[in-house]
Symmetry: C2
Subunit: 360 residues, 2 copies
């Protein structure tokens, strides 16, 4: 039922309408909360848009249909990059996207999406949920009347599609690559041209030589995009996005108007989606990678160590530059670096030897 | 409100009671579902028992107090190792523990707790949630009238506390070590004695030389146990438990009696707890490790590679032996190995290079 229709019926005699449907529940209990969620994804986009759908589904199920969220793809209600403003201004109650899209409004937001040589999914979740990150993220979004959430994670992404081999840092000079955010700034330091191209236009641009290279997500998504038809080399690791966090955001007034149980239902639906998405990525990426290699003859390549080393140096510079220009970013970077030092020490004796088990 | 009191009040005139409390809600809507959850943990045991508490808290919040779960520590209602039977028989509706405790009843259950040289948390979640594992786990538990859930994860554990250095596989011969489950069987193949000791008795046994070594969880928990006072060497990695999964289990009849919204609320509360616990472990373990090393002079040591190699060979033998004796375990091991092959390939180009970023 659409909100408008509901209000009409409620006004005209909801009890009678309820009785006609065979329900004995009083009208006041049956009045649902109906929200709109706008997203930066094409409608029902695999895993990412599906994550937004999953949040809505869980909220609907848990509330017994009393709290409904209608999900809109990019452009259906507002443009993909209009999500932040629409939720901030209360045009809609909720959004789903990734925080690096809002770097122009709040530079510090980028740390909660993807940082070159930053955290993988597990460390990002630990930093945000249990290591002080969430308080900072809330501080960034509060002036915009927004409440942020960890709303999914892609895991470690791939490094991208190239039409030539990358054998030294020199090979990035003059390279026209589709790579957004902080990763793009790192490429620029290496003399490359970071070009912004919307998802739907990457293939054509790569095919026509408007760009020489592109990153996207990982094998599962990249296979669907057909990049293997127009680029030969598929590089790893995704140094620029080692654990990209998707975000859900909620208008603070809309949130405060919810009952305590609907707040808890919303919070918990989003948290479940955060882990669901990572499990999906981890379970499905390798099959797609195999198809790319065996069926489409893609050449899988690793960035040389000295290229990664130089990119990491540039990445550190980029992060310090962001922090120098914005006090909130300084605060977030300090927290990020302190947590990184700690989790690096811990992972040296846990995750790192774990990943060596396969060779012994 | 206790169930008995509630029934009394409901019988005697719940509407009047409700009115006296200033509530206008009809009695039928106010009748709560009240469950008991028994656990294998001491009451409110850090992170593990707190995870059980967190599930109950979330369910209470999301249902607006209409679905309450009372949590009991080991021995409060049934003994820790009586959880499986109590939930299976419907004495209580729900339990929280770890599936390797039920190896005597269902050997295949062990794969859903900890496998020597098995999965870390991320891969375990991917296998169970998105790689076919959950269907198998449900198949194992169905004859017991139980529904299983991923109910938390410790991350990669530590290898344990020793009073002598482990320089070769020979050093494990004759070693009396507290190590349960499949890890214990692996130690036995190396000539060691795997001894079962309840958590509360480990310290004294180690102090008195009844055992020479023990594993427990990780720095956060091991620090609280005070093992550093009676053992000198703290070994890593936890080859025997690289991503121990905690479990929630629900009696199937009790589950089926729930409304669709309470089913969804319960499912989602448990999923959120699963990721919450891992974030807590990852965020807190390193501080405790630092305290062990700097304040208590614990010597951190890595098992030599050739020791790990031999243990892995034994672990493979143990898994095949479990599978040879039980058709369900065979089925689970086949799924486990197929997923492991796939996720190993994927992690080679994602998580593994990620963990090398710190050195470049």
């Amino acid at each position: 039922m659409k909100r408008r229709e509901f209000i009409k019926k409620a006004g005209a005699g909801a009890i009678a309408a309820g009785a006609a449907m065979g329900a004995a529940v009083p009208a006041i209990a049956a009045k649902p909360v109906i929200w709109k969620m706008v997203t930066t994804w094409p409608p029902h986009f695999p895993m990412l848009g599906e994550g937004a759908d999953y949040i809505a589904q869980l909220v609907n199920e848990m509330s017994g249909g009393k709290f409904k969220i209608n999900v809109y793809g990019a452009g259906e209600l507002v443009p993909g990059l209009g999500v932040f403003d629409a939720v901030s201004q209360g045009t809609v109650e909720m959004g789903h996207g990734a925080a690096y899209y809002w770097a122009g409004k709040a530079p510090a937001a980028q740390f909660f999406a993807a940082v070159p040589f930053g955290f993988n999914a597990q460390s990002q979740n630990a930093w945000v949920a249990s290591g002080g990150g969430m308080a900072l993220w809330e501080e960034i979004y509060k002036p915009f009347n927004l409440k942020p959430y960890l709303g999914g994670n892609t895991g470690v992404q791939m490094g991208g599609w190239f039409n030539k081999e990358i054998n030294s840092i020199e090979d990035l000079k003059g390279l026209k690559m589709r790579i957004p955010g902080l990763g793009g700034k790192v490429l620029a330091k290496a003399g490359g041209n970071a070009i912004l191209v919307a998802g739907g236009e990457i293939y054509t641009n790569l095919d026509r030589g408007v760009i020489d290279a592109t990153e996207w997500v990982g094998p599962y998504h990249d296979l669907k995009m057909g990049f293997y038809k127009v680029a030969k080399y598929y590089y790893y690791p995704g140094w620029h996005e080692p654990g990209t966090t998707l975000e859900a955001m909620v208008n603070l007034n809309a949130y405060e108007a919810l009952s305590p149980e609907f707040k808890a239902i919303l919070d918990t639906a989003i948290e479940r989606t955060n882990s669901w998405m990572l499990a999906e990525f981890e379970a499905k990426n390798n099959d797609a990678l195999n198809e790319l290699i065996t069926k489409h003859n893609v050449q899988l390549k690793k960035f040389p160590d000295d290229v990664l080393k130089q990119l990491k140096t540039y990445a550190d510079e980029v992060l310090e530059e962001v922090a120098a220009g914005d006090p909130m970013s300084r605060k977030v970077l300090d927290s990020f670096k302190a947590f990184r030092a700690k989790i690096y020490e811990w992972n040296k004796i846990t995750e790192e030897p774990y990943h060596q088990f396969k060779y012994i």
